[in-house]
């Protein structure tokens, strides 16, 4: 079970529900962007947690139709993140590009999808203590231009002004109150899983992973897709923490996965006596801008784990 616990911990970090341990950063969680290296490293049981540096975060969020759109620094990159849903069920597509990712300056081109070029105008500063560090929050307005049109026009943004913040870490502080942290996010870490499954597929630098952790009350289903398109990386994530079904027979030779929406369909696992196995079915997921994204097929490698 150590492997599973580790997997869960890394996923918690990846999903931004807990501060990255290796980041020595007390800044509030990043946008829910996964770094699928975490999924990769979950298997060998060791590796370094993601530590996007430097330790500031700058950006803004706005609402556009049924989606939320966030633009922020992410490590040395600039992330345009589009998501819908809440904490228990969300799906998102993140567009990550190199550019200027400084606190007061956000500038990048997201290929054919658009570009951002904005400067920060500071209005006021507030300070609080979070996770043992003073959190300096500069409030203000980002001014410039943001043009973005997602795949097939599922979301379209054209703006010149947006309220935003710059977060920086200060010195240590001793107030141990964490107003902005919802510990219920971690409940699935402590729920006793009945079964877990990881399906993984890679095509060159692109990869897709599906993780299902079945527990009695609520199960967790996570799908991550990572694509590299020239000077742009697209990272998609869906997370559902609701009742769903992941069942295997006692011999672990066959299994069936039926997660709730935004997943659709069924995934079927079948292992053969010669050691080979298949992961098939019509299971798919609706990511923003990528509907009916397939999560089964011959390219997938599936790993099944059940507690003894």
């Amino acid at each position: 079970m150590r492997r599973l616990a580790f997997l869960l911990m890394l996923l918690a970090l990846a999903l931004g529900v807990a501060p990255a341990a290796g980041a020595s950063s007390s800044l509030p969680p990043l946008p829910p962007l996964p770094h699928s290296r975490l999924l990769d490293q979950a298997l060998p049981e060791h590796g370094d947690p993601v530590r996007p540096e430097p330790s500031f975060r700058s950006g803004f969020t706005l609402k556009e139709g049924k989606y939320k759109v966030g633009v922020s620094t992410y490590g040395a990159g600039l992330l345009l993140n589009v998501w819908r849903g809440g904490r228990k069920q969300r799906s998102m597509s993140g567009y990550l590009a190199k550019g200027v990712a400084r606190p007061e300056r956000l500038q990048a081109t997201f290929g054919k999808f658009g570009k951002v070029s904005m400067r920060f105008r500071h209005t006021r500063t507030s300070r609080s203590c979070s996770f043992g560090r003073v959190l300096i929050k500069q409030h203000g307005v980002f001014v410039g231009s943001l043009e973005f049109r997602g795949e097939g026009g599922y979301v379209s943004v054209d703006l010149h002004r947006a309220k935003g913040t710059i977060l920086r870490e200060g010195k240590r502080c001793h107030v141990r109150r964490h107003h902005d942290f919802d510990f219920s996010e971690l409940e699935f870490l402590f729920a006793k899983p009945e079964a877990a499954m990881l399906a993984f597929s890679r095509d060159g630098v692109d990869s897709t992973a599906l993780l299902a952790i079945a527990a009695k009350k609520k199960s967790t289903f996570i799908a991550v897709d990572e694509e590299s398109r020239g000077k742009l990386a697209i990272i998609r994530l869906a997370l559902v923490h609701k009742p769903g079904s992941l069942k295997f027979d006692e011999a672990l030779t066959s299994g069936r996965l039926v997660p709730p929406a935004p997943f659709h369909g069924t995934g079927r696992y079948h292992a053969f006596p010669d050691g080979t196995a298949t992961w098939s079915g019509n299971l798919n997921i609706n990511f923003p801008g990528a509907p009916h994204f397939p999560l089964t097929g011959p390219s997938f490698e599936a790993l099944v784990e059940v507690p003894f």
């Binding site: 990769d40 490590g75 590299s228 790993l303 003894f308």
Partner: protein, 320 residues
């Protein structure tokens, strides 16, 4: 009670302090700006230390704990069989042949932790003694990292414990400034300057050297060399992925500082780190292997050779 020195004592303390400050400054500047010197390692001593059994016992130096997955275990099953891993990383029949002899294995003594190994490539330079490899083969990365310098040596055309061109003890080593400061994998490149071998030959006198190129377009076709040492490989033979094209960039590369790294299709593992990525028919070095992921279909990733690599080459080539 605090006793403050006065008169002659104060003067002596001041002189001593200044002397120590100068030493610290000189040493600090030397390590930060111009690499690390390794002194007192004649080739014969190094050759007698690096016996065949010690070289075979050396374990790959890895980035951040990336390692081969544990494929054993109970309570789980792995689906989907992948083709024979490493089948595209073919054995070089004669590593002493021209074009192959410039590639070799790097060995380092890790003390309590045993011996480490990587791959490297001899590069032409005015001092005839430069080897390029991955940054993590020289320094563990970031400002808290450590240098791997104890008994470091380069063995070109290494094969089954043999040293057809002798062993070249490392005299000086360095990485890109960003690798040793931030550990960003987009800068995971290192260089070393080696001393003469047991016969007194310089490196490029003995084996020749590759040209080196930087600031090229990423879209190249690479010959990837290296000495992978984890199963199914054994680290005893030089391997080659021939004419493997640029695939793209690792999405994680977008988060790290520095130019986006490069991916190529080549099934390799630990020990191949630092192996040369050659272009122009194997004549020119334009990349080194840095890492791959656990899954068998993972590409190999290497840092882009940009201006920081040019600066590193300049520092290494200037070593006398």
């Amino acid at each position: 009670m605090i006793l403050w020195p006065g008169g002659a004592q104060r003067a002596r303390a001041l002189v001593a302090g200044l002397f120590i400050f100068t030493l610290v400054l000189a040493f600090g500047a030397g390590t930060a700006a111009a690499g690390v010197w390794i002194k007192g390692q004649p080739a014969r001593d190094a050759a007698s230390f690096w016996t065949a059994s010690r070289m075979r016992a050396a374990k790959p130096l890895e980035v951040g704990g990336r390692a081969e997955p544990d494929r054993e275990g109970s309570g789980r099953a792995v689906a989907s069989q992948v083709g024979d891993f490493g089948s595209d990383f073919v054995e070089v029949p004669d590593p002493t042949a021209p074009g192959f002899r410039i590639h070799g294995a790097i060995f380092v003594d890790l003390g309590f932790f045993g011996y480490g190994r990587c791959s490297g490539t001899a590069v032409r330079s005015p001092n005839h003694s430069v080897v390029f490899t991955a940054g993590h083969c020289i320094h563990s990365g970031s400002s808290f990292g450590r240098w791997y310098r104890s008994r470091a040596a380069f063995v070109p055309a290494y094969r089954y414990g043999q040293r057809p061109f002798g062993l070249f003890p490392v005299r000086w080593l360095d990485t890109t400034k960003q690798w040793r400061r931030s550990g960003s994998e987009n800068y995971d490149v290192g260089a070393m300057v080696v001393g003469p071998n047991e016969r007194g030959q310089t490196l490029t006198e003995a084996v020749g050297g590759a040209e080196i190129a930087w600031n090229l377009k990423p879209k190249q076709s690479f010959d990837v060399h290296g000495y992978p040492a984890e199963p199914p490989f054994d680290g005893e033979t030089q391997r080659l992925c021939s004419g493997t094209p640029f695939l793209g960039h690792d999405p994680s590369s977008f988060v790290e500082p520095g130019p986006l790294n490069l991916a190529v299709t080549c099934e390799l593992n630990g020990g191949a780190s630092g192996g040369g990525w050659m272009i122009e028919g194997g004549k020119t070095l334009n990349g080194v292997t840095d890492y791959g992921y656990f899954d068998e279909t993972s590409p190999a990733y290497g840092a882009y050779f940009g201006k920081e690599v040019a600066r590193l080459y300049g520092r290494a080539a200037a070593v006398r």
